[in-house]
Symmetry: C2
Subunit: 161 residues, 2 copies
């Protein structure tokens, strides 16, 4: 299971941020490094905020999707099972808060490091730190909610219903 990419186990994931098959998405890849989950992403120039700097909303998108993938992987890991096992869980963002510490350049890969700080029922809380070329450029907190569980009955499975 070492270094399995979380997103490779999300079939039919159409997400702009983390859909592995999205033709024009960010296609992030997240995996465990001990108790932390990490993601390295290479910026494209079109995702500028200011000239030469990454757009803050795209940075939030990276954080959001990295944390949702981490929440899923964490839930499976707590149950001692692999990412391709049943039941299938999916998480959606309850809240995200990002503090921008310094500009994040487009010229370097962006490193995201997330940590699960709380796990209660369907709710997982995480922190996520963002680095560019060893500079800490943003810090975030995220609440993830389990909105899909393939072992649930019927209507509970529909996101937001």
């Amino acid at each position: 299971m070492k270094n399995q990419v979380f997103q490779h186990f999300m079939s039919d994931n159409v997400c702009f941020g983390c859909g592995s098959q999205h033709p024009d998405g960010l296609r992030i890849e997240s995996y465990w490094d001990g108790d932390l989950s990490v993601c390295t992403w290479t910026p494209q120039d079109k995702y500028a905020g200011w000239k030469g700097l990454l757009n803050g909303g795209i940075l939030a998108t990276l954080v959001d999707c990295h944390c949702m993938g981490t929440a899923i992987a964490d839930a499976y890991r707590r149950e001692g099972r692999s990412l391709d096992s049943d039941p299938v869980y999916r998480y959606a963002t309850g809240t995200i808060s990002v503090k921008y510490l310094k500009p994040t350049p487009l010229a370097h890969d962006v490193l995201l490091v997330a940590k699960v700080t709380s796990f209660k029922g369907r709710k997982t809380e995480l922190t996520c730190d963002v680095y560019s070329n060893d500079v800490h450029t943003a810090t975030a907190s995220v609440v993830a909610i389990r909105v899909f569980d393939s072992s649930d009955d019927g209507e509970k499975n529909a996101f937001g219903q």
Copy 2:
């Protein structure tokens, strides 16, 4: 000045979210409606999070850029001057917090309504609410920092330096 689009007065804006000339950006348009600033944006399918639903990070990007535009326009308005006047101000995001209340469909236009809640020196605080087809789908708070002022001397003008 009624219904002037804030982003039309940001020359050389390369931003993915609000650059008017960005060839593949979100190209949001924000304007005053009394003391509120509003933005209506039509989703593209590629910005899905879940099938048929807007990606949460893209929603955050809309909120972020709409609030930065509002912070700029508010600062000019407080000085009783038009958006094409000098000095030129630019704001960057200090923090953004988004609470997702309900899924935001791709099928409807997204309406953003922002309000300035605090203005002190270089710091402007705002709230932003997101609606889809009259449903309140997200609420956000944003801190904007004036990082560029064309009347400042030399080094102060450089974002983040």
